[in-house]
């Protein structure tokens, strides 16, 4: 075989691949779900999606990113369905016409973890904002996601409710996922805000302790949003709607409540309950 022929064959194969790939991308069987890392890393989706796929003719591709990136992907038409936990940003997304049919699905909660010795003395406090204030006032590090994720937005809201400007001496914004942030907090012996799921999954490998939980301001509502089909015509809106409806159906809600990690319930089904931007932190701050 001489070289020109090889090259021509390669060109044909390449061309054929390029021509057929858009067809593959628009495959009606595939639902692209952009979701926060917390739902994916906790193993919840591994539990839910096979149940959904068994009863429906769809295959779900999970793209685990921060809420900011997930919303961006929805805006760019790179996903069919979003599952996020930043109600305010989600509402803005829908208001801007990027998304439709937002539905509350469930909530989980955040916890504050830190070094076992707890140099900022936050253990036993009732209010998350007070805990944050003491962390900022102590000579300790606080590792922030700093990645525009839902967790990061929650953290920023908590700083705001504590009247503290993030960026104090010990503030370390690292722009990375929850697992990495927990690892860094452990290495640096600093505090951080984490969703309970990632914490449960990782706590064995960390030199950190759970120091604060239970404040209603730490609750974290999740919602699903369909990417607006009017903006892009190659979206699998039908599949996305099927998945969203299954998640808020009785069956889906039961599956969420049944999910256990290390024997603990992580997510609480809350379909039908009102999800508003005021819920969680802001509601707590206004009390």
């Amino acid at each position: 075989m001489n070289l020109p022929v090889t090259l021509r064959n390669a060109a044909i194969i390449l061309g054929a691949t390029l021509l057929t790939s858009p067809v593959l991308a628009a495959n009606d069987d595939i639902i692209r779900l952009a979701t926060t890392t917390s739902t994916y890393n906790s193993g919840l989706l591994d539990e839910l999606l096979p149940q959904f796929e068994a009863a429906h003719p769809y295959q779900v591709q999970v793209i685990a990113v921060g809420t900011g990136k997930a919303l961006r992907m929805g805006q760019d038409g790179d996903a069919d369905l979003l599952m996020t936990h930043a109600p305010a940003a989600g509402k803005a997304f829908v208001d801007a016409g990027y998304g439709i049919e937002p539905h509350g699905v469930m909530y989980n909660d955040f916890v504050i973890v830190g070094p076992e010795k707890d140099p900022a003395n936050i253990q036993g406090l009732d209010e998350a904002s007070q805990a944050f204030k003491q962390i900022a006032d102590s000579d300790v590090l606080f590792v922030s996601r700093g990645d525009d994720s839902g967790t990061h937005k929650k953290e920023l809201a908590l700083w705001q409710s504590s009247d503290i400007e993030p960026g104090f001496e010990g503030y370390r914004a690292v722009g990375q996922g929850m697992g990495k942030v927990l690892q860094m907090a452990s290495e640096l012996q600093g505090y951080t805000l984490t969703d309970r799921g990632t914490w449960l999954a990782m706590q064995d490998k960390l030199d950190l302790s759970l120091l604060m939980q239970g404040d209603s301001r730490l609750f974290n509502p999740y919602q699903v949003i369909l990417v607006n089909p009017e903006r892009y015509d190659d979206l699998n809106t039908e599949g996305a709607r099927a998945l969203a409806e299954w998640l808020i159906s009785e069956e889906g809600q039961q599956a969420i409540d049944d999910f256990r990690l290390g024997g603990e319930a992580l997510f609480h089904a809350s379909a039908g309950e009102d999800v508003s931007p005021q819920q969680g932190v802001s509601a707590g701050a206004s009390q």
Binding site: G66, L188, D207
Partner: protein, 235 residues
């Protein structure tokens, strides 16, 4: 497409307006990589000279080792260093993880094998007669070695330029042992890799442009050096 154009325009504005956050990130990159180079060049030169001039046991092994390590992915170096510097690792007491010195060490480790291999090749390429002529004309060992470096200067420069290019553009080790901490260890590559996850592309494009221009400058330098090297060879 308008998206890309908008982001690029925003990127250019960030660059031209001397956006402090952006230039701080660029500063971290240069500080870390230049420090790593400054610390890597002297030992690499000594080893390369020894490899080129001395016949000692294990010489061949050392050359193979340098050539092998050159191909090690940067994340692997990052991982090894991470395990060493971790609180539970043997060097955890140093408390270096997620600091600029840790990034310097990582890039030092990446630069050393490349420097040694390229410097060795450059010195090996110098005519044996250069050493003999210098020695017979009264040059001491050190003076003769110095002359060898002078004869190999284009290759030496190429080694330095290529190594600097490698470490300033590496992301694997910087993100693992640096941690991308804003104002501390966030450099060009970790910012591009992780900050774009926020969906904000302008900064990433701006930083990418900086690396692109740098790569262009380094390659032009290499091209000029190579051109001059060939000129002297052919004459």
């Amino acid at each position: 497409m308008p998206e890309l154009l908008d982001s690029t325009r925003a990127a250019l504005i960030l660059l031209v307006s001397l956006d402090p956050d952006l230039w701080e990130i660029i500063g971290v990159s240069f500080r870390v990589s230049l420090t790593a180079m400054a610390l890597a060049i002297p030992p690499a030169l000594l080893i390369a000279l020894a490899l080129a001039r001395l016949a000692f046991p294990g010489r061949w092994l050392l050359i193979s080792l340098a050539n092998t390590l050159m191909a090690v992915p940067t994340v692997v170096v990052g991982l090894m260093l991470f395990m060493l510097l971790s609180r539970s690792g043997p060097l955890g007491e140093w408390r270096l993880l997620f600091t600029q010195p840790a990034m310097v060490i990582g890039q030092w480790l990446l630069a050393i094998p490349l420097l040694i291999a390229m410097l060795h090749a450059a010195l090996q390429g110098v005519d044996q007669r250069a050493w003999e002529t210098a020695r017979l004309h009264g040059a001491g060992r050190v003076a003769a070695l110095w002359r060898l470096l002078g004869e190999a200067r284009f290759g030496v420069m190429a080694a330095i330029v290529a190594s600097f290019g490698r470490i300033i553009a590496e992301v694997g080790s910087a993100v693992m042992v640096g941690g991308n901490i804003e104002h501390f260890t966030r450099n060009i590559t970790t910012a591009i890799a992780l900050e774009t996850l926020k969906g904000e592309y302008a900064q990433g494009i701006a930083l990418g442009l900086v690396l692109l221009v740098l790569a262009l400058i380094l390659n032009l330098m290499l091209g000029i050096l190579r051109g001059r090297g060939q000129q002297t060879l052919s004459s």
